[in-house]
Symmetry: C2
Subunit: 375 residues, 2 copies
């Protein structure tokens, strides 16, 4: 049985390429993880998600504990079999969603008591319960339970939440125990304050984790502030462990994060946008519902090899979006996930080839061109 490990293959400036090994397969880094909130990446069959090039999915502890329930998933053999995905799965801790989605919450040192947004039933999340749920789900990469304060928040509030999260990280590590082949990641907090980020990183590395996430970013602070934190914060983390930036992001966020030493990211953006008709291409964002596409026989992106681009015109994609056909969500989600995975593959190759700066210039130049001219 392969144990969990991380190998750096190349660096180019702060950017890194490598691979995480797990008993369920390798994760090429920098990696983008599609989000399979409730046991499905919306509008995709899992074999199609794999076909886009995804090596790992993210599952949401909060959603799965409420429905269908972690104990039920465990009785059914775990999340991998349940959702028919045999590659690695990373689960979040539930901490973020409990703050953003749940009803009536009561926070304490112990954890959070809250009401389900689905049926109003009462639940508890704590470091110990989060570890238990993630074990029941069969997650390969488990995240520490943390508190991510909602913005705007005072520095005192950010510091308080960070220090609580560090105590919870210690409890998470204890509760996780020794599980060969499974990894536990700590989550750095501290908002946009350098000293707090440094304190958080020190606390986490003192405990010791298989990987380190950057939490509390991509929560509304803006790209400049986020990059400002990444400029120093990745440097607080050990070089020989993967670094995961949670909830990022737009293509240019992703590129900027990789340039600053991030190895893993996740975001609902490609799948959610697929359902709302927002399409990502090398030349920026295309809104398929725009009337300019109604008679356009060209693909979204003629260089793209996804089924939406190989088999359909913009006119067809426009039609099925306007007619609210399910195939619209299916094809546009596939395209978007394919685009995000191609982006990661290009970056991995550029970093390995020592030409990441040039690649970034080309990336930004293509986007600056904007979409192809209407016919």
């Amino acid at each position: 049985m392969t144990t969990f490990g991380f190998t750096l293959h190349a660096t180019d400036g702060a950017a890194r390429s490598g691979a995480i090994s797990t008993p369920r397969g390798q994760i090429r880094t920098p990696a983008f993880m599609p989000v399979g909130t409730a046991g499905t990446v919306k509008a995709m069959l899992p074999e199609s998600v794999a076909a886009t090039g995804a090596d790992i999915l993210l599952g949401n502890t909060y959603h799965l504990m409420l429905r269908p329930g972690a104990e039920r998933v465990a009785r059914l053999g775990g999340l991998h079999g349940f959702m028919h995905w045999d590659k690695p799965i990373l689960t979040d801790s539930g901490g973020f969603q409990v703050m953003s989605l749940a009803g009536l919450r009561k926070m304490s040192e112990e954890g959070v008591r809250f009401k389900s947004h689905i049926d109003g039933s009462t639940h508890v999340l704590s470091p110990e319960r989060s570890m238990e749920i993630q074990r029941l789900l069969g997650s390969d990469i488990v995240m520490c339970f943390d508190e991510c304060p909602a913005l705007p928040a005072s520095e005192a509030e950010v510091a308080r939440a960070m220090r609580l999260s560090m105590r919870w990280a210690e409890r998470s590590k204890q509760a996780f125990g020794d599980r060969p082949g499974h990894a536990l990641f700590g989550i750095m907090q501290g908002g946009v304050t350098r000293e707090l980020r440094e304190e958080s990183a020190r606390a986490l590395t003192d405990i010791g984790f298989d990987g380190y996430a950057l939490g509390g970013l991509a929560v509304g602070e803006g790209q400049e502030a986020m990059f400002g934190v990444l400029d120093y914060a990745t440097g607080f983390l050990p070089e020989d462990r993967p670094r995961y930036l949670m909830g990022v992001g737009k293509p240019d966020d992703i590129v900027g994060a990789v340039a600053r030493g991030v190895d893993m990211m996740d975001c609902v953006l490609p799948s959610r946008s697929g359902r709302t008709g927002q399409v990502f291409t090398r030349r920026g964002v295309v809104n398929i519902k725009n009337a300019r596409h109604a008679d356009d026989p060209r693909p979204l992106d003629e260089a793209c090899q996804c089924p939406a681009c190989r088999n359909y015109s913009r006119a067809y994609l426009h039609h099925v979006f306007r007619a609210q056909e399910i195939i619209s969500s299916m094809l546009l989600t596939w395209h978007n996930l394919h685009y995000f995975q191609e982006l990661m593959a290009e970056m991995r190759a550029a970093i390995a080839g020592g030409r990441f700066t040039d690649w970034q210039s080309g990336f930004h130049a293509a986007r600056a061109e904007g979409d192809i001219e209407p016919l």
Copy 2:
């Protein structure tokens, strides 16, 4: 270029098996045609529809003329390329939907003027315009424009509508002209009145068509009345042309129709039911939203080879249906279409083997068993 043709391979009682040849490929009969209303079989990629065993799709003239528009589809190269389906397509004439879906209608000898149910715009359908639209779409099998009166209707009203439809059939034939490789089917009307059905069949065969449809059935008259008509009406039609029963139906309707000499059918049932959680199996209908499935690790049907049955438990299908995930519609539609195509394949084999009566007994016996016992 293959011309349109029909070959009977075997008969067993009134049941027939054979093949329709077209330049776009062969259609094995008895055939079930999934419905791709607006240029998509809802929740399915076309390659997945083909994987279920479908040789032909049905497209709806009414929906496509309103959105995206027949002239637009023609400019884009026709319906096959537009929707990425290169096998045969049969289009209906628009006559049925204009009566069931359109707003404010004005019928005349000339045709029907009506308002779109989508945007209220005014349109006209006539035999000539219906033929033009079906030509613009690139349909392989074109249906005559007819009037199907809404039930309940007096015998006088049914007779009037049938005779109008026969005059329209003549005009449809004239307007269709000579299109090698494309077929035009006449549509028999006459409700449940034997004399009217016979008069209609005579009128159609006097004109001469490539195939003959049975219209005005499966519109609320009930299975017994429908079978009563089929008992004699297929016999009014030439043996050497395919017989198409429009809008049928449930599995037992389909089996009874094949037993009475029908070669082709279409229905939205498998795809629509897939979206509402109704699943067809050899042992009858399963309602996946029922709580009994929440912890059931077994597939819908362990003998079924579709992706929903090979890769997922009832518990998963129950979960994603309850969570209103798109994958629920995708998997259940796939299963249902697979079931319907397997049903047709079994009937073709049984007819070819001269054991159709035995096969029917087995079909009804398995359904009488009902779903597997809860765990």
